[in-house]
């Protein structure tokens, strides 16, 4: 075994020079570490806490309005505080100079804009194929909207040339956040709408109030959300008062023998529970997802009563072609499989991913109708269709 020698011997450097280089590199790395100064809420602002969302908070101070966006990884910190008004902008806050044009990085945002009657503000979107709401599609067809990320990668130069007053964005990891920081430094007003992290359906829908504030339509936003909340709660109450057994519900589809499933506190699990279904893994902790093998899912859910959201399949033959063994599941044998593919654009757009986020009351009614068909006979499903 050769005797271990300190690395500087191999580089033929004197020990002092080596030590100097190590210290210099350490200092440079420390200097390059970004500042972690915490954003503080401005003084003398009256804040109104949302009923269901945990990630945003509107407020006002005289004629000036504020929107505070909570940090998704640390609820004690603030990600952004946006200020609109003629008063001085507090330290750390982003001043919204104008709100005439909007670039939206998700079809969820365009869906909410349409609910607010703000579609004419839309000038850019990540992918033209995804929105399903009619006014947005009409605007896209008229050529009034620029596509900014057709293959998933943002064309930053195009966005900078577009110069929208507000860019509605989101990020999944630090790498995604960094690309937006460079655009902010270039002068864009970027608002991080992390509504996909809300686990309650009404929490996600409540972001329409944040959009209402941002786009200058707060009253419309309140009216829409109040209507959605009322319908949601009345359906939930009607389901809760039913005296019939809850069907066992299976969700999603396997890919290459692996099944991704929503955890017990997730958005989908909450919808299923509120619609009167018994999600098989309701006791699995967490608001995200977990993975099981096909065999385990068959053991635990092979006899489920209902199967919803089986990937991209719109008929049972498609399901069986994914894996012949899926035909062994009881819902497939009994033809009680339903998918959220009733409204699609044919180019990859699906109303479940934009419209349903702003209208969870309709999604809930759809599921309630599926789980308890005799109780809601008058409701025609909006998002779900049966697989035959």
């Amino acid at each position: 075994m050769p005797k271990y020698r300190f690395p500087c011997v191999y580089l033929q450097l004197p020990m002092q020079a080596f030590r100097g280089i190590v210290i210099l590199v350490s200092l440079l790395m420390a200097a390059c570490t970004p500042s972690t100064r915490r954003l503080q809420l401005p003084d003398n602002v009256t804040w109104s806490r949302p009923a269901h969302s945990r990630l945003f908070m509107p407020g006002h101070r005289g004629q000036d309005s504020f929107l505070a966006l909570r940090h998704p990884d640390d609820s004690s910190r603030w990600l952004q505080i946006i200020h609109w008004g003629s008063g001085s902008t507090p330290d750390g806050c982003i001043h919204l100079k104008n709100r005439k044009t909007v670039a939206a990085m998700s079809a969820v945002f365009t869906g909410m804009m349409e609910e607010l009657g703000a579609t004419t503000m839309l000038t850019g979107i990540d992918n033209l194929r995804y929105p399903t709401t009619p006014l947005t599609r009409r605007r896209i067809k008229a050529g009034s909207v620029t596509e900014l990320a057709p293959t998933g990668t943002l064309d930053k130069e195009k966005l900078l040339r577009l110069k929208p007053d507000i860019t509605l964005a989101y990020y999944i990891d630090n790498k995604g956040a960094e690309q937006w920081e460079t655009l902010e430094k270039a002068g864009l007003t970027v608002v991080y709408c992390q509504n996909f992290l809300e686990s309650h359906p009404l929490g996600r829908a409540e972001w329409i109030r944040a959009f209402g504030w941002l786009l200058g339509r707060p009253q419309q936003a309140e009216a829409v959300f109040d209507m959605v909340r009322e319908h949601y709660e009345s359906t939930r109450a009607a389901v809760a008062s039913l005296d019939e057994p809850k069907p066992a519900v299976l969700c999603n589809a396997p890919y290459s023998g692996t099944w991704d499933l929503p955890s017990g506190d997730s958005y989908m699990a909450r919808l299923i529970a509120d619609a009167g279904g018994a999600y098989i893994w309701a006791s699995k902790p967490g608001a995200g997802h977990f993975t099981l093998g096909l065999e385990t899912v068959f053991k635990e859910a092979g006899d489920a009563d209902i199967w919803i959201n089986p990937g991209g399949c719109r008929n049972l033959d498609c399901l069986r072609s994914m894996d012949k063994r899926l035909g062994l599941f009881a819902p497939v044998k009994n033809q009680r499989v339903y998918n959220n593919t009733a409204i699609t654009t044919g180019e990859g757009g699906n109303a479940w991913w934009d419209y349903a986020v702003s209208r969870p009351d309709l999604a809930l009614k759809d599921l309630a109708r599926i789980f308890h068909p005799l109780q809601f006979p008058e409701h025609q499903p909006v998002f779900f269709e049966p697989l035959k």
């Binding site: 293959t151 990668t153 890919y255 023998g257 993975t291 093998g293 065999e295 991209g312 990859g348």
Partner: protein, 314 residues
Amino acid sequence: MKRKNLVNIVLLLMAGALVAADLLIDTPEFGTAFTQFRLPRVMAAFITGICLSMCGLALQTLFRNPLAGPFLTGVTPGASFTVALLLMAGGGVFAGSALLENLGLAASGMIGGAAVLLIQLSVSRRHGGMFTLLLTGVLLGYLFGAGVEILQSFAGAEQLKSYTMWGLGSFSIPMKQIPFYTGIALCGTLWIVYQRHRLDAYLPGDTYAQNAGVDLQRLRLGLILATGLMAGASTGFCGPIGFVGMVAPHLARALIKSNSHGQLWLTTALCGAVLCLLADTVAHFAVPGIQLNVNAVCALLGAPMVLWVILRSR
């Protein structure tokens, strides 16, 4: 008892124990869940271990290079690219025909794998050496990886997810694919076993092989076809599984202290089978309630072994 027989018996017992463990842990009922899910998965792990290890043995002989294997030589990335073409751009091209579906996956993998091997062979004949082989393999890996990323840019969400999950590797294949897969593994393995004496003669060099009466062209072509078929089939059915192909032959050599293909082939096949069965058992049962990624487990088991091979060869 001869050392190699003892080693083979021990490996056979280990494989048997792992098969039993994989089949019986978590008390499955011996009904549909067992015959349609558990049994084919364990059989696929066993067959994949044999396929990849025999590929590795053949490739290390073909290139006369101890680090050759389906991954590092670019065979698996090439097979992955052609499978990606089928999954993302081919869509339901074979829908409705089970035979074509099976053939399609295996054939697409084989075409990609064989194409890479032909490139590697022509490069190594002009510029032989370990460095050239690895560099070409890495470059081909990058090339085909880039091709896959471009395909992903145009794929829909479902196709993207389908390819991504396939890329994580899984032995969970339907029972109907097992006979076909077994046939391919058997043909490839039997061909390599049949050529064992020629492979022994090939190993020292081209001149020695020719003097021993070996038809070099035919042998190389046969090796390319056999390894392309087995690596392509295993990549198509189970996704890209790393490390097994390279590690298993070295483990076999270390255990029986021989380079003779006549003695090595069975030990290599059993080593590969044991590795894959172990990876599958760990992936499914190490963390209760959660299935780990088979490829990641193979890497956790295989990477230290690869390091050991490299250090040992110096």
